[in-house]
């Protein structure tokens, strides 16, 4: 056994710091052994996934409750989206039974000391590590954003392994924690201008599909907003299992530039759009905010909806983090959105809420949302710009 533990880590593994810490240490050391780690390293930030009761189920909740008996977080730990807005769930058509179960999950995390943010964009609301920091994040879009855009180092953790890092303050040193595994492996030249978030989602679809798990080095993008980078992160992680990318002139990580080059044209993006657009989709659900909408996106949507009315028979969810929703309330954006008949939904998103059977067709600007809408909820999908999504809601 090559994995060496410090005296304190051995104590955790032997149960001297409690039952939950022992279980957490078993998870971390076993993963370390599987991947050939030589030591554990401290992490300063954790993001936990597996929060929606819809995905977790009673058994998942039972495991969390067992860990919560004596398990307490040792580092800053935030939480992925839940299956509903924790306050306004009723008006979004969530059942009483589901709400009770979802509350039990969130309460269990809170008991462990987790900050129950319920967002896939922890970096927008106070969990923002810096370049070079070692962290343990689940939520594939945030993992990709962190590794690539921020430059904080994390593997693609699952729900239990992220929780294990929260309770021990450690992760095993392997994979993307090692500089040699963060080097670009294939170069993509983008031969078209990308203007909207949906374009970046489509680019993620193309690169994810081609590159698999290889780290891409992307050239030809002159400018990208934070919102576009979060859209790309979500899509490339969904369609390719990518946990890190480089964009020339935009992302901060050092790398050599791969020789192998592939060109991506507008035609490739159009093909990706065609695969995400179902024929004969009847759109009765419009959702923007996968990953969670920023305050800038919400301000723009509020402007588009101001004084207008969502067409009867259509439901609009703009999904975001609770602190961002609070800011939107203060700024009057919430009123503009809700007066138009759309919902500003905090804590949840269209991918993890229990929505199967409620709608038939989703229009969204998010390539990732299309994947989950089709797979889990059996909706037909269309991917459009945010402005086109709002136009559809009003027509």
């Amino acid at each position: 056994m090559k994995l060496e533990l410090t005296k304190e880590e051995n104590e955790m593994l032997e149960g001297k710091q409690g039952k939950a810490t022992r279980k957490a240490m078993e998870i971390i050391t076993t993963l370390g052994e599987i991947y050939g780690a030589e030591k554990l390293i401290p992490v300063s930030s954790v993001q936990i996934a597996g929060v929606s009761y819809h995905n977790l189920g009673e058994a998942g909740l039972e495991f969390l409750s067992e860990m919560a008996e004596d398990g307490r977080t040792r580092v800053l730990t935030t939480l992925n989206p839940a299956g509903m807005d924790m306050e306004e769930w009723k008006k979004h058509g969530i059942s009483e039974d589901f709400a009770l179960d979802q509350q039990r999950v969130v309460d269990t995390f809170e008991k462990m000391g987790v900050i129950t943010t319920c967002t896939c964009t922890p970096y927008l609301i106070g969990n923002l590590p810096h370049y070079g920091e070692h962290i343990a994040w689940a939520e594939s879009s945030a993992v990709c954003f962190s590794n690539s855009v921020i430059g904080a180092l994390t593997n693609r953790e699952g729900g239990p392994s992220a929780l294990a890092s929260a309770l021990t303050g450690r992760t095993a040193e392997y994979g993307l924690h090692l500089p040699e595994n963060r080097i670009a492996e294939v170069k993509y030249e983008i031969d078209t201008d990308l203007t909207e978030t949906d374009d970046f989602g489509l680019l993620g679809h193309v690169i994810g599909g081609r590159t698999g798990r290889m780290i891409p080095y992307i050239t030809g993008i002159r400018h990208a907003t934070m919102e576009q980078l979060k859209s790309f992160s979500a899509s490339v992680a969904t369609y390719g299992g990518v946990a890190m990318f480089h964009i020339e002139g935009i992302t901060p990580n050092r790398t050599t530039i791969p020789e192998r080059t592939e060109v991506i044209t507008r035609e490739d993006l159009n093909k990706a759009r065609a695969t995400l657009d179902d024929e004969m989709a009847i759109i009765d659900f419009i959702s923007v905010g996968c990953p969670h909408a920023s305050i800038k996106e919400i301000a723009e949507i509020a402007q588009m909806l101001d004084g207008k009315q969502v067409t009867e028979g259509k439901t609009v969810w703009i999904t975001t983090a609770k602190p961002t929703k609070d800011l939107a309330i203060k700024m009057g954006y919430y009123d503009k959105i809700e007066r138009a008949g759309a919902f500003l939904v905090a804590d949840a998103c269209c991918a993890v809420a229990p929505l199967e059977g409620r709608f038939t067709g989703l229009m969204t600007d998010s390539a990732k949302a299309c994947f989950y809408a089709r797979g889990k909820n059996k909706f037909k999908t269309e991917i459009r710009t945010v402005a086109e999504c709002i136009k559809e809601a009003l027509s």
Partner: protein, 136 residues
């Protein structure tokens, strides 16, 4: 070691424990999330080699896991429902199954040449020492 037992190979401990039971062997990977009923232990993935068979109480032998990380919680659900496999033997254990075995306390060993095992054999899994042997 049992008299006449064939030691297959020195594998690697994933989670501790020592059990003897009947092997259920497949050459296909298993996704526990969506592929295995968490209440009965039945493999429900369409077209899977083990479709319709239950993993409950068996020494479950398969190459590696696949699919969503929620699969770890399915193993935990099986354990709580007393429908879990007695032990798991893999060629390579993936993180989803490894974490599932740890949280559910299911003995597990990997780095085993699973082509030497057959369904119906009585097998001992000594996960503490990472050894798998055919008892009869």
């Amino acid at each position: 070691m049992y008299q006449g037992g064939v030691v297959l190979v020195q594998g690697r401990k994933i989670f501790k424990g020592k059990v003897v039971g009947e092997a259920l062997v497949t050459g296909e990977d298993i996704s526990f999330y969506g592929g295995c009923d968490p209440e009965t232990g039945e493999i429900v993935e369409k077209g899977h080699h083990l479709e319709g068979k239950s993993v409950s109480g068996k020494i479950l032998v398969f190459p590696t896991g696949k699919g969503s990380t929620v699969g770890s919680y399915v193993l935990y659900a099986l354990k709580k429902a007393e429908k879990a496999p007695l032990a798991i033997v893999n060629r390579t254990t993936d993180p989803v199954v490894a974490v599932g075995c740890i949280i559910s306390e299911i003995p597990a060993v990997d780095q085993i040449d699973i082509s030497r095992l057959e369904t119906g054999q009585r097998v001992e899994v000594d996960a503490n020492n990472g050894v798998v042997s055919i008892v009869e």
